[in-house]
């Protein structure tokens, strides 16, 4: 039993560790802190579900749910910590050396636009379009129906489109 649990966490770790780290790093902007929280996420996953033999249909969604909760707690514990918006406005970005300058600029632009959206809208777009979550997995993560999730995603994308549009004279 113990061996199976260890094997399970081992498999989950190998499959999702990069995804979880990327998600946390994207939000925290600190590699060290993201690494620490990544460790905590997998320990919590084992402690909450695997050690109790709970069957997991969507382990990725549960891992991200734990990661989100830890981020929230982390923000609350450290009030001085910069928010995602602060980081983005200051130019925090994830550089990719394989991209050309124009592509890097477009990527940076998208991050700035996302930072203008409400945090949940930015998060849902990030998870769906950058992280590659399915609608079903997102519905599990947010604990809503797939229809509700689709509507939220649709609205978030509409806000993103609006953010790209230059302000009119009325604005």
């Amino acid at each position: 039993m113990q061996y199976e649990q260890d094997k399970h966490i081992d498999t989950l770790y190998d499959t999702y560790v990069d995804d979880i780290f990327r998600f946390l790093y994207n939000r925290l902007g600190s590699r060290e802190r993201a690494i620490d929280l990544t460790q905590d996420v997998f320990v919590k996953m084992w402690q909450t579900y695997l050690s109790k033999g709970v069957a997991l249909e969507y382990p990725k969604a549960l891992l991200f749910r734990i990661a989100r909760n830890m981020l929230i707690n982390s923000y609350e514990r450290d009030k001085k910590h910069e928010s995602l918006e602060d980081l983005s406005e200051e130019g925090f970005d994830v550089p990719d050396s394989t991209q050309d300058a124009a592509a890097q600029a477009r990527a940076a632009e998208l991050r700035r636009m996302l930072a203008r959206l409400p945090e949940q809208d930015a998060e849902i777009i990030t998870l769906r379009h950058l992280e590659g979550f399915s609608v079903q997995e997102l519905a599990v993560l947010y604990d809503v129906s797939e229809n509700v999730l689709s509507v939220r995603l649709h609205r978030a994308l509409a806000k993103l489109e609006a953010a790209y549009k230059p302000p009119t004279a009325h604005d």
Binding site: I9, V17, I35, N73, Q99, A107, L110, M113, L130
Partner: protein, 374 residues
């Protein structure tokens, strides 16, 4: 939905986003730390699985506690009590004598107290697996659980963050009971009431514990989330039961209607052979349509009841879930009774009118027949 410009930005951002990775050394390092921490926690927070009974560190301590317990209640009793489950005769020995004593001598009383919640979950899981969970056993587990939760929360070091192990263990227990309730409900409609009780009982505990411990706002939020989830499950179960009730009622109504229509058709045929009067057909079909409409009222009651449930839920604060559920049940029953009464009255009136029409038609047909004979 996105235009080409935005789509291009998203694709570029995805490439940049996906390029973030851990190095092989970092991955190995984190994995090693995760496995170490799991091992440590496995030896300290899960005594029902690994320690204190079998951990090397805790063996002597546990042995001494067991000797003490054996002195108090007797060795065979102590052994048997430790294996007992909620509802067993020796379960109270386990929960009232051996566990409190073990808590006193535990290395870390706080952790031990939290571990009892996982132990309760294991017991419920075992009973569920054996198919032995029944209302008496749930009640026995519930009684102990409330005490364990209260004690664990009072001791939990991270209670202020609202995400202590105690709460997570508790949520597992709630989920187990809810799942078990759903299974029972599917197997036997008679057990639906028990299933509802099993689902709502943990809410009672949550409220009781919340009242007793004066917890932080974050903790309350966490509990409210659990309660809202339970409310949704309970509402779903309620709607399911309503559907079953509406279907059953409709079946009965349809049987009655079929009999009435069959009688009416039989009578109409007789009348037709005598008179061939079209008015009789009209009367029969009109009254039959009225009767048919009454059956649809039963079906109408379901959305009405659902609306009532939604209104009740919206009005009730999250921690008043048991009250909301009770109000829910009351409103649903009231709506059903009203619609049932309307259906019955309307059916009775329709049958009376139909009978009168048929009698009149038969009388008229007879008169026509007599006149033809003349």
């Amino acid at each position: 939905m996105t235009n080409n410009n935005t789509q291009q930005h998203i694709e570029d951002a995805r490439t940049a986003y996906q390029s973030v990775r851990l190095s092989a050394a970092e991955k190995q390092d984190i994995k090693m730390r995760v496995m170490q921490e799991i091992k440590i926690r496995g030896n300290t927070t899960r005594p029902q699985q690994v320690s204190p009974w079998f951990s090397t560190v805790g063996m002597l301590r546990v042995a001494s506690v067991f000797v003490l317990i054996a002195l108090v209640v007797g060795t065979p009793v102590a052994f048997a009590a430790e294996r007992s489950l909620p509802g067993d005769a020796l379960y109270t020995v386990k929960t009232d004598v051996t566990e409190p004593l073990a808590a006193v001598f535990a290395d870390d009383a706080d952790t031990y107290q939290q571990s009892l919640l996982a132990k309760r979950a294991s017991e419920l899981r075992l009973l569920t697996k054996r198919g032995e969970l029944n209302p008496e056993r749930v009640a026995a587990a519930q009684e102990v659980l409330v005490e364990n939760v209260r004690e664990a929360l009072a001791r939990a070091a991270d209670i202020e963050t609202g995400e202590g192990d105690a709460i997570q263990d508790y949520q597992v227990i709630v989920a187990l009971i809810a799942e078990n309730g759903a299974a029972i409900e599917e197997e036997a409609p008679v057990a639906a009431a028990f299933a509802a009780t099993a689902k709502m009982a943990p809410v009672d505990s949550v409220v009781e514990v919340a009242d007793a411990t004066s917890p932080s706002d974050e903790f309350i939020d966490s509990l409210q989330g659990a309660v809202a989830s339970l409310q949704a499950e309970a509402t779903e179960a309620l709607e399911h039961r309503l559907g079953v009730l509406a279907d059953a009622t409709q079946d009965v109504q349809e049987e009655v209607v079929e009999e009435l229509v069959a009688d009416a058709v039989a009578a109409g045929e007789d009348v037709d052979t005598l008179t061939a009067e079209p008015a009789v057909d009209v009367a029969v079909s009109t009254e039959s349509a009225d009767i048919m409409m009454t059956t649809s009222l039963v079906a109408d009651s379901e959305p009405a009841a659902t609306k009532a449930a939604v209104v009740t839920q919206a009005a009730a604060p999250a921690l008043d879930a048991p009250k909301a559920e009770a109000a829910n049940d009351g409103m649903v029953e009231a709506v059903l009774r009203v619609h049932q009464r309307i259906a019955e009255d309307k059916a009775a009136r329709a049958v009376d009118a139909l009978t009168e029409d048929l009698e009149a038609a038969v009388g008229g047909g007879a008169a026509v027949g007599e006149s033809l004979e003349l």
